[in-house]
Structures are given as structure tokens and as C-alpha cells.
Amino acid sequence: MELLMIGVIGLLFGSGVYLMMQRRLLKVIFGSALLSHGTLLLTMTMGRLKNGLPPILVEGYTGPYVDPVPQALNLTAIVIGFATTAFILVLTYRIFAEWQTDDLEELRGVEDDAE
């Protein structure tokens, strides 16, 4: 199971990085989102994947409980990632409105260098 997860994480990271190399702003954002998803999955996997009860003590049960910490971390990270993605989407919309383009090539150049 862990091995499969590692493959998926690698795939997410790889496609995330690939998308971030693209010229369109929106693809860069999708890339960053995939990258974040990869990290979330990694956090999950790092807490060991196993079947077990929720981490509340049950009398007479000695078997495994699942580790609650990675889940708590993931919830927090998801919320933060959500806020960041929402903000960068709005920012991209504003960039499109101001520059009339979403192509990073056309956004290049520093105007005040030429002055």
C-alpha cells in the first residue's frame, strides 16, 4: 500500500512540476495545487497506512489505532492550501484584467529598466 502511495505521490509531484513550467498562469496554479496535493498525501503516508480503530481508547481492545496527528495536519494544510489557491486565482484574474494576457512570456520585462 505504501509503495502504491509513493508512486501516486511521485506522479502528483511530477505533473505538478511539469504544469508549473508552463506559460499559462492558470496551468501554473494547477501545478501548484497538484504539488500541494502530493504533499498532503505524503503527510498521510508518513503516519503509516494501517487499518485500525479511531484513536479513542476502547476497553478490552488491544489492536492498532490509527495515528490522528497526520490527519489533523492535513486538515490544517488543506484549509491553508484552499485559502492560498483562492487568493492566487483572484490575483490571476486581476492580472488578466490589467494585462489582457495570461501568458507568462508576454508578462516579461521590467518597464522601468527601459526608462
Binding site: 508549473m20 498562469l25 501554473v28 501548484s32 504539488l35 500541494s36 502530493g38 504533499t39 498532503l40 505524503l42 503527510t43 508518513m46 503516519g47 496527528v69 497526520p70 495536519l73 490544517t76 494544510a77 491553508i80 485559502a83 492560498t84 487568493f87 492566487i88 490575483l91 490571476t92 486581476r94 492580472i95 490589467e98 494585462w99 508578462l107 521590467v110 518597464e111 522601468d112 526608462e115
Partner: protein, 492 residues
């Protein structure tokens, strides 16, 4: 060790100030009052914390009284307190400068609220003793900084905000990767507990990899070689007040975290990790200052100097002797104050003349003598002339480097000092000397006051160097004995 619920106040003051401000977006006067009160209270409490931790005590706060390592802890040792005071001082100075320079549009769109939230993130990062909590505080300060950077919505500014955000999203993703791997190895998130488990871990090689991941993460945030490329582009597009807060404060939070984790957690393979830090420090300071050569804009030149100065701090951490660490901490404090002063004077120049382009300036010294004097003092302090604070920071670092026999990197450090002086003189020659352009005489005393106060502080830090060195040496000694921090947090 002392349990104290109060040490969370430097986080709470700005938080409540920000919440209050969100309720009154149109009442700018009230917003200013709230912001000034919150930050003054933070500074006063930070000074109290400094006097408390000066005795060597470490104050600890366990959230909801959950004992470490199960709950989230905040811990304030001497380094945290020093950073809190330094950040409190410049936060207040920049706030007052904002009163007189930020336009109404930004003010009515919650500029002060986000500024306070950013400082909450900064102070939280200084205080927290939990590595995931550190991630959260970093995100708070980053999201606020995205907003401060994009607020106003000018063309250039939006584009640079996008780059800044993407870079930081990548860094944050890597941060989380580092935290996850560290959790896999140690099974805990409490920094003191991690420090204990790291020493006992069986797979030391993996830990070095994790150390490198953290070095990259905070290297991006602190703008060290080879990860600084985003900084000189993005900072100058922001309003001067925001620029001063970013340049003076934000990059140094990354440096603080490097100081924390590379003295507490990743000390299992000093020969490897800290040699890399020395190398990075040397290259960063040299390349940063060389970047200024081609620039002809005050704010761009100053932005490159941020990078160069970060190199000195990293060097202090890399050499890893008590003296070097003390020099590094002294240098951080000095730099927070002086860098902010320089950006503020650049901001005042912008306000008075409408530009910071060196080609369009000239003879400012005649037209605005006080501005010239402030800039001159801050500039030579940055370059490291006695009796200003920059001299003592560099002096201690160089002595420490010579003692540890890192001759090459010390030669680079001294050369960089000269180049710094050279580029400060370049600004001075173009902008302040020469024939005055046609400037209207204006009253600018209050614009300049925050910067002037910071320069006076730099002078005081130089004259009172003995006392300052005493404090930073105590902080360095404390850092080099991580067991103090660990017992304070975890109990005996």
C-alpha cells in the same frame, strides 16, 4: 523553567488589533489608533520578556495545559525575546511611516489589519516550539504579505505578487514535506522532543536529507544563494512602507528559523550541514553585493543588499562557535533596524521627489540636509563603520571566523564590506551630491522621524556595544546548549 500563559501576548495583541480593524474598514483614524496601541503593547511586553529571559530563564506556555510533547507549546528563550524586541521596534517605526505615506485607498482596504496579521505571524514564528505550528504561523505571515504586496493592484505589482506567491507556495509545499519526513522519523512535532529523538534516531543519513530540505525551504524564504532570485524583483514594486517591513523583517524570520533548527534539531552532522552553511553564507554575501553594481534605483540596490547581509548572518550560524553565533544574532538585530531605516529613507526620497531612480536625482543633500544625514549614517552603518552598530556585528563575526580559521570566507566578508560601502557611496554620489534639481522646499520632518529614530538606535547599539554583546553572547551560549531548551519544554 517557568510556565506562563502570558508569553502568547505578542501574538494576541496584533491578532485582536487586526480583528477590531476588520470591523471598521472606513474609519481610518480609529484603525490607526488600534494598530498603534496593539503594536506598542507588543513592544512593551517584548521588552519585559527580554528582561525576564536575560537571566537565562526560558518561559514556556503549553496550550490548554497539555504537557509537551502532546500539546502545542510556545517557548521564549533569549533569542526569541531579542527577535521580538527588534521586530517590535521596526514594526512600530514602519507603522508610523505608513500613517504618513500609505494612500487612502489602501487604508480603506484593511491595510492596517493585514499589517497586524503579518506581525502576528512573525511574532508567532519567533515564539512557537512546535514545528507544525511554525508552518501555520509562516502561512499566516505569508498570506498577509501576499495581500500587502498585491494591495493597490498596479500592473507591475500584480505580476510580481504572482511570482512571489508561486515561489512561496513551492517553499511551503517543501516545508510540509520536511515536516512529514521528520514526523516519520521521530514521531513527534514538538521541536524539543524532535531534538531528543533526532540524536537517538538510527537513520542519520535520512536526517541529513531532511536538514537539507529545511535549508532549502528557509533558504527560499530568507533569500540565500542560490534561492534569492525572486527578492530583488518583487520587493521594489511594493509601496515604500511595505517594502521597508518586508526588507527589514520578513527575510529575517527565515534566518531566525535557520538559527533555531540548526542549533536545536539538526546538530547531528555539523561537519556536513554547517560547512554548507558557511559556503552559502560566503557566496550569498558576495553575489548579493555584486548584484547592486548594475542597478540604478535606490530601492533595487537596497533590495540586493538584503541578500548580501543575509550572507553574514548565515556565516555566523555556519561557523557555529559561541562568538560567531553571538555575532550572527547581533547582526540580525542590527540589520533589521538599519535595513528598515534605509528603506524608509528611500521611501521619504520617493515622497519628496517622486522617484528613487538615481539618474533623476541629484543634490538632495542641499535641498534636504536631514534626509541626507539620515541616509549617510544608515548607509555607513550598513557598510560597517564604527561607532555604528554595523561595525561591531561584522567585527565579532570576523574575529570568530579567524579564530575558527575560515580565512577564505572572512576575506570574502571583508571584501563584501568594501563593496557595500562602494554601492552606498554610489547612491550618495548620484542622489545626494551634485547640483540640486528643482525641488520644492517641503516640511518632511515627520516622514523622516521613524527612520531617524532607527538610525539613533543603530548608533546607540554601537555605543552600547558592550551591553549588546553581553546579551547576544548569552543568547548564543543558550543556543549552543540545546539541553536547556529541551528541559525547559519537556521537563527534567
Amino acid at each position: 523553567m517557568m510556565q506562563s500563559n502570558w508569553i502568547i501576548l505578542p501574538v494576541l495583541f496584533p491578532l485582536f488589533g487586526a480583528i477590531l480593524n476588520f470591523f471598521m474598514p472606513k474609519r481610518v483614524k480609529a484603525q490607526k489608533l488600534v494598530a498603534a496601541t496593539a503594536l506598542t503593547a507588543t513592544l512593551l511586553y517584548s521588552i519585559y520578556l527580554l528582561s525576564y529571559t536575560r537571566t537565562g530563564a526560558i518561559a514556556v506556555f503549553s496550550a490548554s495545559d497539555w504537557p509537551a510533547p502532546f500539546g502545542i507549546v510556545f517557548a521564549c528563550d533569549l533569542l526569541s525575546a531579542i527577535m521580538l524586541v527588534a521586530s517590535g521596534i521596526v514594526a512600530l517605526a514602519v507603522l508610523f511611516y505608513s500613517f504618513w505615506s500609505i494612500d487612502q485607498g489602501r487604508e480603506q482596504h484593511n491595510y492596517y489589519a493585514f499589517y497586524l496579521l503579518m506581525l502576528m505571524g512573525v511574532n508567532g514564528s519567533f515564539l512557537t516550539g512546535d514545528i507544525f505550528n511554525l508552518y501555520v504561523f509562516f502561512e499566516i505571515l505569508l498570506i498577509s504579505s501576499y495581500i500587502l504586496m498585491a494591495l493597490g493592484g498596479e500592473k507591475e505589482q500584480l505580476r510580481e505578487s504572482f511570482k512571489y506567491m508561486v515561489i512561496n507556495i513551492i517553499a511551503s509545499a517543501l516545508f510540509l514535506v520536511g515536516v512529514a519526513l521528520l514526523y516519520a522519523v521521530t514521531g513527534t512535532l514538538n521541536m524539543a522532543d524532535i531534538a531528543v529523538k533526532v540524536q537517538a534516531a538510527s537513520d542519520q543519513g535520512l536526517l541529513t536529507v531532511i536538514a537539507m530540505i529545511f535549508m532549502i525551504v528557509f533558504g527560499i524564504k530568507a533569500a540565500i544563494f542560490p534561492l534569492y532570485f525572486w527578492l530583488p524583483q518583487s520587493y521594489p514594486t511594493t509601496p515604500p512602507a511595505v517594502n521597508a517591513a518586508f526588507g527589514g523583517l520578513l527575510a529575517k524570520v527565515g534566518v531566525y528559523v535557520l538559527f533555531r533548527i540548526f542549533t536545536l534539531i539538526f546538530i547531528n552532522d555539523i561537519g556536513y550541514t554547517h560547512s554548507i552553511l558557511i559556503f552559502i553564507g560566503g557566496v550569498t554575501m558576495l553575489l548579493g553585493v555584486l548584484g547592486t553594481v548594475g542597478q540604478m534605483d535606490m530601492r533595487r540596490i537596497l533590495s540586493f543588499h538584503i541578500i548580501s547581509q543575509i550572507g553574514y548572518m548565515i556565516l555566523g550560524l555556519g561557523i557555529f562557535t559561541p562568538l560567531a553565533l553571538a555575532g550572527g544574532i547581533y547582526f540580525i538585530v542590527h540589520n533589521i533596524i538599519v535595513k528598515t531605516a534605509l528603506f524608509l529613507t528611500a521611501g521619504v526620497t520617493d515622497q519628496l521627489t517622486g522617484t528613487t531612480d538615481l539618474h533623476k536625482l541629484g543634490g538632495l543633500l542641499k535641498a534636504y540636509p536631514a534626509l541626507g544625514l539620515t541616509f549617510f549614517l544608515a548607509g555607513v552603518s550598513l557598510a560597517g563603520a564604527p561607532p555604528l552598530s554595523g561595525f561591531f556585528g561584522k567585527f565579532v563575526l570576523i574575529v570568530a571566523g579567524l579564530e575558527a580559521q575560515h580565512y577564505l570566507v572572512i576575506a570574502v566578508a571583508i571584501g563584501t564590506s568594501l563593496l557595500t560601502l562602494f554601492s552606498m557611496m554610489k547612491i550618495f554620489r548620484y542622489a545626494f551630491w551634485g547640483q540640486p534639481r528643482e525641488y520644492q522646499p517641503q516640511k518632511y520632518g515627520r516622514f523622516l522621524a521613524p527612520a531617524a529614530i532607527l538610525v539613533v538606535l543603530s548608533l546607540a547599539m554601537g555605543i552600547g556595544a558592550e551591553w549588546m554583546l553581553d546579551v547576544v553572547s548569552a543568547a548564543a551560549t543558550q543556543l549552543l546548549r540545546p539541553e536547556l531548551y529541551i528541559t525547559a519544554v519537556l521537563g527534567a
